[in-house]
Subunit: 427 residues, 2 copies
């Protein structure tokens, strides 16, 4: 049954029940937070052996380097070798750096602004820069680009990735469009993964900007919730085949693999792009924290070690995603009040509520003690023109709190949807 087929009295009855449910939740004095994609304590515990993986007297890497001293700008080779096959980047073209891939993105864009990148006519800062933003997308990507003064241009998405026809049209003539954000696997927040064909098309595009850059943020490359899961895309191979080897810059980190904010971040690309990144990084760094690299290399041991570890994450996360789906199906399904994703990986559920109600749902939830990411956060400049998209992050709270939070959100959606329907039927 869909909302529009309901009689006015049916809507009024449902609204009354929704309000009663909502009030009973609100009376509980809840304090729940499903705003951010943070790992739970149980997930973090999985990586606790990291803490003691490098101990006194045992501080040398495989090649004998004392990891406690300066040097090694590219990061520890044995760690880069573990992540190279997982990320589809040769170890020689993959740098292991500090703890944050977002910082590496900031660095890359700052370097481009101040110096230009390989293929640039000059520093980006000399001209207006526009950046394509597939929506819904990651709020920190958009905020970072906005902070650099970029104009953000929303681009639609489908099941294969961002709308390539739209991208082709925009980039063909507009040389100020310098790049696009891509989360290729288990995208934040949709959970969608890009198809190889779409990635190939993106690499093949003829763009007006000679230095059009795909910021390939593979944040959830290994973060599968169930089988089958997407295989790594050889984006560097596709880019080289297409004659645009320097187009992608690849980012990843272990923040949602080991410790959030205390893991290791990676950046990779063509030899020219990696040289460029290294050179500018080297102007402000003697080298990254190799002790933390060694901890990670020892903890994982091999690419398969990483995959095994991620299966343990999935065991903890999958029930939470299933619970959200179960609650939404039960509460929102009968009257078809909303649509939501059932992601095969990543950290988010995207909830699409009736247009014009997302901000209201977020406000209602906050008043009932459930914090949600602000409506609009998934869109450039925080503005969702349809006011319809809400990002749910169920990873951090314990399962019973996830269930409770989802129930509150569902009650809020019901209140907002039936209120809107009631007001429409009263017109």
């Amino acid at each position: 049954m869909s909302l529009s087929s309901l009689a006015p009295q049916e809507i009024a009855d449902r609204l009354e029940r929704a309000r009663a449910d909502y009030e009973s939740f609100a009376a509980r004095g809840l304090n729940l937070d499903i705003t951010r994609g943070k790992p739970s304590a149980a997930q973090l515990d999985l990586a606790d052996p990291l803490l003691t993986a490098v101990s006194p007297g045992d501080v040398r890497s495989a090649d004998g380097t004392d990891t406690r001293n300066y040097g090694g700008l590219a990061g520890l080779l044995e760690l880069r070798e573990i992540f190279a096959p997982l990320l589809g980047v040769p170890a020689a073209q993959l740098l292991a750096q500090g703890t944050s891939s977002l910082t590496l993105m900031r660095d890359a864009l700052s370097f481009a602004m101040l110096h230009g990148r390989p293929g640039s006519a000059g520093p980006w800062v000399r001209e207006p820069v526009r950046m394509l933003c597939p929506v819904p997308g990651y709020d920190r990507h958009f905020q970072l680009a906005a902070s650099l003064g970029f104009e953000l241009i929303p681009v639609g998405m489908d099941g294969q990735g961002p709308d390539i026809a739209q991208i082709a049209e925009l980039t063909r003539t507009d040389a100020s469009i310098k790049g696009i954000w891509i989360v290729p696997v288990h995208s934040n927040p949709t959970g969608l993964s890009m198809s190889v064909q779409r990635a190939r098309e993106l690499m093949e595009l003829t763009t007006a900007a000679p230095d059009f850059t795909v910021l390939w943020d593979n944040a959830y490359a290994l973060h599968h919730l169930r089988e089958p899961h997407p295989e790594p895309i050889d984006v560097l191979g596709l880019a080289a085949e297409a004659g645009h080897p320097d187009r992608p810059l690849i980012f990843a980190s272990t923040s949602k693999i080991t410790f959030a904010g205390a893991g290791v971040a990676f950046v990779g690309g063509s030899p020219a792009m990696v040289d460029w990144f290294s050179r500018h990084t080297g102007d402000g760094s003697i080298g990254p924290d190799k002790i933390n690299h060694l901890r990670h290399a020892r903890f994982f041991g091999s690419p398969e070690g990483v995959r095994d570890h991620m299966r343990k994450h999935a065991e903890l996360l999958a029930p939470k995603f299933a619970a959200v789906d179960e609650v939404f199906t039960r509460e929102l399904g009968p009257d078809d009040l909303a649509a939501w994703t059932r992601p095969a990986g990543g950290y988010f559920v995207t909830l699409a509520v009736p247009p014009g109600t997302a901000a209201h749902v977020v406000k209602l939830a906050a008043e009932a003690g459930v914090k949600l990411t602000p409506a609009g956060a998934t869109h450039p400049h925080g503005i969702d023109p349809d006011d319809a998209i809400i990002r749910i992050a169920p990873s951090m709270p314990p399962l019973e709190e996830v269930v409770e939070a989802a129930e509150v959100v569902a009650a809020c959606v019901r209140v907002a949807a039936y209120e809107t329907a009631a007001s429409a039927s009263a017109d």
Copy 2:
């Protein structure tokens, strides 16, 4: 006795002996490196308890924060509180960040370039920027500034700090002079520490640029070799009193206190400057590695814990500096062939050889198996107009290698000096 008072035959005899000594060193097949200020393995061992200071089940900071998860952009408060009195910056105005203070300097300058800083008319990138560089100084400072396209302007130094009259004259009318590099304590490479009076004068200067910035790199704040040592300068207090509270940006790190490249870096300033730095950092970071902060806070426990630790460093370092002085006094003193510093702290000895011979000495040393920092590295763009300054970094090799390296360097200085004198007396 000085070189100029020697008869030609005396010079010829001495040159012959110097060459014989040099050849006997060269025949040993040495492979010594005194190029960089790296701590020795024994110094690093002092901090080994850090490696196990945070262990499974014991990962929370004093306020109960799980340091393994995201958040806390300012860094762990308990660590900031330990370093606040040591650096003369209130904890609320001191950020603990990643591992490298050089990176924080790069970030600060990049933020200023792209956005301007408090007091700026706009982004620095819009106009030419000139930066004052006290010489001899730190090559990485100069390289960083040059990489951003800054014009580097050398400034002289005396026993109290950089030449304030010269700085006053340069900054009074030239608004493109946006800043100055300062290493206030045990300066790299001279070992000189700034006087309070000179710091006050620097803060009081009326500069044409409203956003003139003192990059106060307190890299050796606590790195004393002997008593008495300089007390911390309250540069923020001096700046506020002078009516220029936003002038200094203070940097420091534990790279030469705990682990080089795997310690914790700090940045501090006025509330406005710290807000500014934080805001831009927050566009590209969710927060620094709090686990490493917690390790450091636990390892030190208190400011006095840091001071105690630094006394152990001094015990290891002081004999190496004494050895360099002893060798140079013995080999270079009799004919007054060179001047060198006897620093009370820091990581370097500055050796001033006869003008025109520094590059030759470095080359001779390399050919005899002793790597020195390139001559000129202590000057902007790597050019020492007098070709006279050589930086010696005796910290890393074991004591016997330091002695050997100093003897080789001394032999090279003797060869170069007597060659020059012989050629002058032959004219």
